[in-house]
């Protein structure tokens, strides 16, 4: 069973002094809380991936395929030819050190192999040792080393200790993108069946049932119906959305975590209310029921296989374009890969908002618009009835989720929305937001339960910035636009910054929405009494009108 997680003060006392031994002579220690479990055999078999077997990273024998060295060499060679970026990144680093202290895992762990330069060097040293003349002859003198099983174990440890967040690449004068290096390393590891369960099992689920969790169509629909009951209870409005409806104008796709777990479900309720409020002609799909794409954390081929379903479903249903929810890496897949990978999606139309007429030219090729772009445009055109004072008990800051910020450049829209739906918005320090944003510490499939110490270490820089705005401005809500964030932050906040909660942007939108036919909004979407929340921050209570009939929510709500 897992070891107890160290206390915050123990983790915060990070020693950044590197060990005396040369990096090539140190080995990772597979300590509980700091590594991820091996993928289940069935999950690799389910999607036809290599070398399915029972194994454990703490075993001496990882049961690699007989010709594993040949597979790795061939895997590297093939990718050097296929991806010019990979070839360049293997050749050009000058070790200036600009990236060294930019990684959240290095900041939080002090482990030098979490410096992006050294993380890349784990692979570059093999590239030199196996492919370059100088490295083959001079070995270590030329920065090369031989391929051994120890190298594979080291790769597994450190390439699953990188969230592909790309903060380091912002600071690299050459623009070396360590995420691309991690992506290649994970692909090569995958050729040996060295995958983590938190990536491999969601991939298998997604391929077979349409979403990472494995929610079957009837379960997906039933979950939504429960949320509709909650909406009715708290707002008095009954919403009747459609599923798998042919001929709808739009298809809406969001991560499945948001239809399953707190606090994502409150964001999901927000979508339902927003779309009802504007009378949007849209449908949900129980087949394309996942915005996220853990295939992206496996291989390009797996990413392509999983991404295909969203467009296949859009085509089948005959919608005009796709509206996408608050997901992180989905938007990197869409913005940076989709068009040349599964696309072009020329059977869809260039997205035009049916409510405002705005043409989303930025999505002309992907045919997919982010919910925050869509909502910001609605607000800009005065299409939403909003009462931001309903969020007055909240003092909100915004976490730029890595991929929407650095992967699609969406920086202004969520801020514009937040400034319109709540009255107290505060920015974290500039070096920790927008394109400089710090990762939540659990992206790229690292949001599992067995690596909590690693997660808390990786989350330390982001939480430190939250602590800053809590101390300075009394911030009590951390908003974000990513389902991994919403899976990761509640535990991080409880551990590092108790008293601050986490939500999606659309949850706050819906709490401020003045719905047609609504009852007095005494409860927020979490079923919490607004006056209780106001009392916590010394705001006077709101005098609600007399109850007409049974407006009191039943007791089991709340968290």
């Amino acid at each position: 069973m897992a070891n107890p997680t160290p206390k915050p003060e123990q983790i915060a006392a990070v020693d950044h002094k590197p060990p005396a031994a040369d990096w090539m002579d140190t080995k990772p220690e597979f300590k509980p809380g700091m590594f991820l479990y091996a993928v289940r055999k069935e999950s690799l078999e389910g999607v036809g991936q290599p070398n399915p077997r029972d194994w454990n990273p703490t075993d001496a024998d990882w049961k690699l395929p007989a010709d594993w060295k040949g597979i790795v060499r061939e895997g590297i060679k093939e990718r050097l030819q296929r991806f010019r970026s990979f070839q360049i990144f293997m050749d050009i680093c000058v070790r200036c050190g600009a990236c060294a202290d930019k990684c959240h895992f290095f900041i939080g762990s002090g482990d030098p192999k979490n410096m992006p330069v050294l993380r890349a060097e784990l692979l570059r040293s093999i590239y030199r040792g196996e492919f370059k003349v100088a490295g083959k002859i001079l070995g270590k003198l030329a920065g090369g080393r031989k391929l051994t099983e120890e190298v594979i174990k080291e790769w597994f440890y450190y390439y699953f200790q990188c969230t592909e967040c790309r903060r380091c690449s912002v600071y690299c004068p050459y623009g070396i993108d360590t995420a691309e290096i991690t992506i290649m390393a994970r692909e090569i590891l995958n050729l040996l069946g060295c995958q983590i369960d938190w990536v491999g099992t969601p991939v298998n689920n997604c391929f077979h049932t349409g979403n990472h969790l494995g929610l079957k169509p009837h379960t997906y629909k039933e979950n939504v119906e429960y949320l509709l009951d909650d909406i009715e209870e708290y707002s008095g409005v009954r919403i009747n959305p459609s599923f798998n409806r042919k001929g709808a104008e739009l298809l809406f796709i969001t991560p499945s975590g948001d239809v399953f777990a707190d606090p994502g479900i409150f964001t999901f309720m927000g979508y339902l209310m927003l779309f009802d409020h504007i009378g949007l002609d849209y449908t949900w799909s129980t087949y394309a029921s996942e915005g996220g794409n853990f295939g992206f954390f496996t291989s390009h081929e797996m990413m392509k296989r999983l991404n295909a379903k969203m467009y296949a479903e859009a085509k089948r249903l005959g919608v005009k374009w796709i509206l996408g929810g608050e997901c992180g890496h989905m938007w990197r897949v869409i913005t940076q890969y989709m068009d040349t990978m599964n696309g072009p999606a020329d059977f869809l139309e260039v997205p035009v908002s049916p409510i405002t007429g705005t043409r989303f030219q930025n999505s002309a090729s992907t045919k997919m618009v982010h919910i925050s772009e869509f909502t910001a445009d609605l607000i800009h055109n005065n299409k939403l009835k909003l009462d931001p004072s309903r969020n007055d008990h909240l003092r909100v800051t915004f976490h730029d989720s890595c991929n929407p910020a650095r992967g699609m450049g969406m920086l202004e829209e969520p801020r514009y929305i937040l400034n319109n739906v709540c009255n107290n918005f505060f920015e974290m320090p500039p070096q920790t937001i927008r394109e400089n944003t710090f990762c939540c510490g659990g992206g790229a499939g690292l949001n599992a339960g067995e690596n909590m110490e690693m997660r808390f270490r990786g989350g330390l820089p982001r939480m430190n910035a939250v602590q800053y705005v809590k101390d300075r401005h009394g911030v009590n809500m951390l908003a974000c636009v990513c389902a991994v964030d919403r899976a990761v932050f509640p535990a991080h906040l409880e551990y590092w910054v108790p008293g601050v909660k986490n939500c999606g942007v659309t949850e706050l939108v819906a709490n401020a929405l003045v719905m047609d036919g609504e009852i007095p909004r005494q409860y927020n979407l979490r079923g919490e009494e607004v006056n209780d929340l106001r009392e916590e921050v010394d705001l006077p209570p709101i005098q609600w009108p007399e109850e007409e009939e049974g407006g009191e929510p039943s007791e089991e709500g709340g968290e």
């Binding site: 069973m1 897992a2 479990y37 029972d54 454990n56 369960d197 938190w198 099992t201 969601p202 689920n205 979403n211 990472h212 969790l213 494995g214 929610l215 079957k216 009837h218 379960t219 039933e222 979950n223 429960y226 949320l227 909650d230 991560p255 499945s256 975590g257 948001d258 239809v259 399953f260 777990a261 707190d262 994502g264 479900i265 996942e290 996220g292 853990f294 997901c327 949001n447 599992a448 339960g449 067995e450 389902a483 991994v484 919403r486 899976a487 007791e555 089991e556 709340g558 968290e559």
Partner: protein, 105 residues
């Protein structure tokens, strides 16, 4: 694959002690988890939750969202934690023999 032994029976479990195959569940496995969890005795309320979780799992192949579980059983989340100190997932679902959910959760 790790195994646990209880009352002369052997159960295959994952790294976190969740039963590998929900079909292999029996009452003794629940009693094994009860001891691991340090729960003094399993009362009617524990069984109500366990039976509900198993029924739901048979229909859906996944654990229910916590929201649904609290609504159907009528137990507030706080009470679920009183019954199962490790919570609905690591406590109740594990005792009922359900698999862990994965993804953005």
């Amino acid at each position: 694959m790790p195994t646990v032994e209880y009352k002369g029976k052997t159960y295959e479990v994952d790294e976190d002690g969740f039963l590998q195959d929900p079909e292999k569940w029996d009452k003794d496995f629940a009693y094994y988890v009860k001891e691991e969890e340090g729960i003094s005795e399993l009362n009617e309320e524990h069984w109500k939750v366990i039976n509900y979780l198993q029924d739901y799992y048979k229909k859906n192949g996944i654990a229910p969202m916590v929201r649904i579980m609290t609504k159907v059983t009528g137990f507030k989340l706080k009470h679920i934690y009183e019954l199962f100190p490790s919570g609905p997932g690591k406590g109740a679902c594990k005792m009922a023999g359900l698999a862990k959910p994965t993804g953005c959760v």
